[in-house]
Amino acid sequence: MKAITKLCATAAMVAFSATGALAAGGISNGVVKIGVLGDMSGVYSTGFSGPGAVAAVKMAVRDFGGKVLGKPIEVISADHQNKADVASSIARKWIDEDHVDMIADLTNSAVALAVQKLASDKHVITMATGAATSALTGKECTKYGIHYGYDTHALPVGTATAIVKNGGKSWYFITADYAFGHALQNNTAAVVKSLGGKVLGSSDVPLGTNDFSSYLLQAQASGAQVIGLANAGQDTVNAIKQAHEFGIVQGGQQLAGMLVLISDVKSLGTDVAKGLQFTSAWYWNQDAASRKWMKEYEKFSNGAAPTFPHAADYSLTMAYLKAIKAAGTDNADAVRAELGKMKINDFFAKGGYIRQDGLLIHDMYLLKVQKPKDGPWDVAKVVRTIPGKDAYFTLAQGGCPLVK
């Protein structure tokens, strides 16, 4: 009798552990949920994030077939209103109650850092596209946090390298006076100096300034060949507009934007932004695959044109779903390991791979504003391809505590 009880107990234990293993191996809760947490209504909603990002993720899910490992894929989205506390409480709820498996977008550095930290504590993968700060994969890196597309190191470095090599040796910076602007300026200045160029001076401009005239006049008077705009968004747009009014480009100086999207150029007009050089993680007219994707995206999103963060959203969703397929589970550890192993080579990320610190290394492109040839969005041409390893910082430079 005792033997039979023991046998039953053992059998039960085996059965239990088997179901346990099955749960760990399959898809948790029978569905893969991707949460797009972005700025749907604020300053970043047109370029970096917004409905365009949600559309890109949904399109990737459609193109993947809507199912992975036989289980459905669901996309949910929310507007964090650029408030880290709103973002944080949405993300917590998504993870705790809705069992979201991966959170994408995370435009706005404060939001991205807060959500990446919290998601990692709860073993959920985050893939930030819209956020710029290189701290995401530097000092604040986490086990499950991935930064996909660009950062405050890759953009200015790419631009500076190319311009200095083309003869733009002396620089003057117009810098947004806060950590982000200074990071852009310092990263760029380091490259300029290392390539034998020199920095003639810089002006710190308060965030949200409308009148750039005195700074532009100083830049003009400095006689620098290149004026580097170490700012973003409306600040950059204002600076470029007024530089046009002062005839800076006609006067023989070059303008270099450290963080410019093609949607900014489109809103300025190619006449005003003429001659502006900037680095982008992707340009829709760079090759046949990108043009094809752009057409599909426009069809999918009712005519809205994609920016590079939107393309990144598509690419990362594909990569994430492929990683789940390869790992045979949506378990965060297994998927993160798979993401670290795979090569990402699609229309967006050329020669891409995700490093131990979570940074996606891929080729970047130096663009120069030109008169549109192929339709209204053809506002620039690719001047130079910057290999990923030159654009991004090295593992040691980042200072990620997980890297030993």
Binding site: D96, A110, A114, Y178
Partner: protein, 331 residues
């Protein structure tokens, strides 16, 4: 002259009559029961982090109401106290390893000191000029938060440890954290309630109604106003400090002028100069932000429409209108 031709006076009589007062007391008791009941059971019905966020904002709005509702001073710079204290507490917890309660006290001391400086400058002027001075000084604080090395600029102060309460209660447990926040809120709320119903509070209300008359009665109104300002700033700081521990970060949003605007919105929606109004207002605004986040760009439109509806249809705010409808003088 017939008194009844003046509706305000007739109303005043109805509100402050003995019947109105008794009804008021009974209704207040009902509201107290509702509030305490809600605070106790909310984490089991709603998402706890959401309720914690709600309580922090409710305390912030109540502190603000102490100034605008009971002293008649419209400050447009309360985000400086809320956000400033959040940074101080966050830094103390992260860099010095201070436990949560002393951390919150540090934040409160900071906002009290800041409130003293801002208040001392601002109360020299009245009305719109008062609001503008507070706004200007709050913007200075905002730019300090943006520039100082310890605040982390636009990235904010991240990864603040929640720590252990009194050395043995682990605040990383959601429920422990919740009841800690609930306790902070209740203490703050009781302090405000006590202030309003003290002789000091009566003087504040006298100043709100008619400052020259209060002055002529021999009250040093400037000192009363300054004291009210400092108290309000301190409690706003407590709310900000607590929020930074709940969310484990302090960001520029907390110190931005829009936050000053939001707290005005909360107070107006709930009911200016009511005791429970700001809590209701905070609930409405935070809930709208939270539950409408799924509909994207319409959030701001809905919040704006709610505000317009409030201004057009129920100017006294939700609780204010309720009090008027029930003919009680304070709720």
């Amino acid at each position: 002259m017939n008194v009844t031709t003046h509706p305000e006076i007739a109303e005043f009589d109805a509100l402050s009559g003995p019947a109105g007062q008794t009804r008021g007391r009974a209704l207040q008791a009902v509201f107290w029961v509702l509030l305490i009941g809600f605070v106790l059971v909310a984490p089991f019905m709603l998402y706890p982090v959401f309720v914690m966020q709600l309580l922090c904002f409710a305390l912030f709005a109540c502190a603000f109401n102490l100034l605008i509702g009971f002293t008649g001073l419209l400050s447009f710079g309360h985000a400086a106290f809320f956000g400033g204290a959040a940074y101080i507490t966050g830094y103390a917890l992260t860099a010095w390893g201070v436990p949560p309660i002393p951390g919150i006290l540090l934040g409160a001391v900071f906002s009290a000191a800041l409130g003293y400086v801002v208040g001392a400058l601002a109360i020299r002027r009245q009305g719109i000029y008062f609001a503008m001075i507070t706004l200007a000084l709050a913007q200075i604080v905002y730019f300090f938060a943006l520039q100082l090395p310890f605040t982390g600029g636009e990235n904010g102060l991240q990864g603040i440890p929640r720590g252990h309460l009194l050395g043995f209660i682990d605040l990383n447990q959601t429920l422990n954290m919740y009841y800690f926040v609930a306790a902070v809120f209740m203490v703050g709320f009781l302090i405000i309630y006590r202030i309003i119903h003290s002789p000091f509070g009566q003087v504040l209300q006298a100043i709100r109604e008619n400052e020259p008359r209060a002055l002529s009665l021999g009250y040093n109104t400037d000192r009363y106003k300054l004291m009210a300002f400092v108290l309000s700033a301190t409690l706003a700081g407590v709310a900000g400090s607590t929020k930074s521990i709940v969310f484990q970060f302090a960001s520029l949003t907390d110190a931005h002028w829009q936050m000053s605007g939001e707290v005005i919105l909360m107070t107006l929606l709930g009911g200016l100069g009511t005791i429970f109004g700001p809590v209701v207002g905070a609930f409405i605004v935070v809930a709208l932000q939270q539950f409408l986040s799924g509909i994207g760009s319409w959030v701001q439109v809905v919040i704006g429409a709610t505000f317009i509806a409030c201004v057009l249809l129920f100017r006294r705010g939700v609780v204010g209108e309720l009090a008027r409808w029930l003919k009680v003088d304070s709720l």
